[in-house]
């Protein structure tokens, strides 16, 4: 009886929480499908006849499409670099015993302690000097550098956990180190790559601070940075604004729903990296 009561109590807490989380999200989506002045009159009404025009306007008017494209390029480019580099470094640090291994590993980990924001000024001046200011490539390199330490940490853990006979079996078959990494190891550490990919993609896609500081040309702006411009342009055109927010959040929501297990694992793995 008591057990049943406490089960009900905990169910109640979780259901309440689900409402508090989902209602604002539903409100956002619902309002994105309503005409702006209709929304202003009755903010709560359901969008019975979805007004998709908001989405068409977001996409075709203004720079939204280009913001979206830039975010894809920057997030995608950083992800590819982070994955390739962390595979290589994680493999070497996780599987070779050589002098200086733990020193290099320790050095890479210190990268996790440096808050990128506080090094923003020297980075700004350095990028200017390297001709990488106001450049997507510059941003990709900075994001890669920020994501790499945690990525190497996670990947090396995955490589360490593979059985040690694996290398020798491949070597006896005459495979070079690189072939072995590519053909034998990489397929086995796919789960690790999923975690690294997710763990790196969220903060990069969501970030607005670095683009705000490093990108000035309107045609290079990212989605999150562009939303601030967009909110100025469409002030009080609620329907369009909400449609913009939905589109900006959509890619990660889809990814999250498809890969929620890895998402949750990845973020806790990131949290307990210390």
């Amino acid at each position: 009886m008591k057990l049943l009561a406490s089960r009900t109590f905990f169910q109640g807490i979780l259901i309440t929480n689900a409402f508090l989380v989902l209602l604002p999200v539903f409100f956002l989506f619902n309002s994105s499908l309503r005409e702006s002045n209709e929304f202003a009159r009755t903010p709560f009404a359901l969008a019975r006849n979805p007004f998709w025009e908001n989405y068409r306007r977001v996409w075709s008017e203004g720079e939204f499409g280009s913001y979206f494209f830039n975010s894809l390029i920057i997030t995608g480019g950083s992800l590819v670099l982070v994955l390739i580099l962390s595979l290589g470094a994680g493999f070497v640090l996780g599987r070779y015993s050589f002098k200086g291994n733990s020193l290099v590993f320790g050095f890479i980990l210190t990268g996790m302690l440096v808050p990128a924001k506080l090094a923003i000024l020297p980075l700004f001046i350095q990028l200017k000097w390297m001709n990488l200011l106001d450049s997507r490539l510059g941003l990709i390199l900075v994001y890669t550098s920020a994501a790499l330490p945690a990525a190497v940490f996670i990947m090396s853990g995955f490589f360490k956990s593979l059985p040690s006979d694996l290398d020798n079996a491949a070597r006896i078959d005459g495979a070079s180190e690189l072939t072995m990494l590519r053909k034998v190891m990489v397929p086995l550490v796919r789960p690790g790559m999923a975690i690294v990919g997710i763990y790196s993609a969220i903060p990069i896609w969501n970030d607005f601070f670095l683009p705000l500081v490093f990108l000035q040309s309107p045609e290079k702006k990212t989605l999150m940075q562009g939303l601030t411009v967009f909110f100025g342009q469409y002030a009080s055109q609620w329907g369009v604004l909400f449609a913009g927010l939905c589109l900006a959040a959509l890619p990660l929501i889809v990814l999250y729903l498809v890969l929620s297990e890895q998402f949750i694992k990845g973020l806790t793995a990131g949290a307990v990296k210390g």
Binding site: S6, R7, Q11, I13, L14, A18, V21, P24, S31, P43, F44, S86, G88, A89, V92, L93, V104, F107, I108, G111, L113, P115, K117, L118, A119, I120, L121, P122, L123, I125, Q126, L141, V142, S145, L148, P149, R171, E177, N206, D207, F208, F209, M224, L227, F231, W238, L241, L245, A249, L252, I253, Y256, S260, F263, I264, L267, T268, A271, V272, G274
Partner: protein, 305 residues
């Protein structure tokens, strides 16, 4: 190990490790070390002038910076205490609830964590709309249920702006401690709980005497991360209050002040890279020392399973 293999491995180490190291050194290590040096120089715009010793640090404790610094530090400290208290205990409650229920667990886990993947830009604007004084549903609900005196311009009033920001922060982040605590709960050896139950302990006693002490490692992580997050609080205050911490500086934080000093702002005009870097070094020292000290103290009360 054969020498051919050794040579092959050496080549692999060089080829696979060097690119990652170069990127980290160039884009993280060097800028981090340079910040330190910037704080000891005079600056005109982004041009370095002469060595000035600790002058930039002293400026932070003088007019006009000291008042901003004190106010910002106060807001960061309030944010840490409030977020630590509410976000952590609600997160723990949600985690424990998920630990206890069987039905719907997968659904709850996905939902609890959902807001954490949202950009703070999206979260900020969504809540700006929800809290809008005229069209916002929150005020309409309050008026609707007969409490019109509680309907406020939440983000526009100096008394409610900071609490509103902390609430929005809670909405966005609470899933994070919840998932970390849930991972901690699942790592607890079930035999301890069984043994306590057989001894006739109530669920409340089990939580206090067995579960909570064993959750200490998760609590350490959450405390340290909350501390770092609170003293580097930037995104949400920036999206909702701009770089000046509107309204009237009531949501100003150390990181916003750092941003204004680094890049200038509409109100306070030109930037001051020297004083900005000094503030940056100070924030980093504060956060680093606090996190190190905190995790040391907290680790001491962690128990072995």
């Amino acid at each position: 190990m054969s020498s051919a293999l050794k040579r092959d491995q050496h080549k692999a180490i060089g080829a696979l490790l060097t690119p990652a190291l170069i990127i980290i050194i160039v884009f993280t290590t060097i800028p981090a070390l340079t910040t330190l040096s910037y704080a000891f120089f005079g600056w005109e715009g982004f041009q370095r002038t002469t060595y000035v010793g600790f002058e930039n640090f002293q400026s932070l404790f003088q007019y006009p910076y000291f008042d901003q610094f004190k106010a910002a530090l106060k807001h960061n400290t309030i944010a840490f205490v409030v977020i630590m208290t509410f976000q952590t205990s609600i997160g723990l409650l949600l985690a424990y609830a998920m630990f206890r229920v069987k039905r719907g667990l997968r659904f709850y886990r996905v939902v609890v964590f959902l807001p954490v993947i949202f950009s703070l830009v999206v979260v900020g604007y969504l809540w700006q709309a929800l809290l809008d004084p005229y069209y916002g549903p929150i005020n309409q609900i309050l008026t609707g249920i007969g409490l019109p005196e509680f309907a406020k311009p939440w983000l526009g009033d100096t008394a409610t702006a900071l609490p509103s920001l902390m609430f929005i922060n809670l909405w966005r982040w609470v899933g994070f401690p919840a998932i970390v605590f849930l991972a901690g709960l699942n790592a607890i050896n079930q035999e301890f709980l069984e043994a306590a139950r057989i001894d006739g302990a109530s669920e409340g006693q089990i939580f206090r005497k067995v579960i909570f002490p064993l959750l200490a490692p998760s609590l350490t992580i959450i405390t340290v991360l909350t501390f770092i997050g609170a003293y580097e609080w930037f995104d949400l205050p920036f999206v909702l209050g701009g770089s000046n911490g509107s309204p009237a500086g009531s949501t100003d934080t150390l990181a916003l002040m750092f941003y204004r000093l680094s890049f200038g702002s509409i109100d306070s005009g030109a930037n001051n890279v020297g004083v900005g870097s000094a503030l940056g070094v100070l924030i980093f020292t504060l956060v680093g020392l606090g996190a190190a000290l905190g995790s040391n103290l907290l680790r001491r009360r962690e128990v072995e399973q």
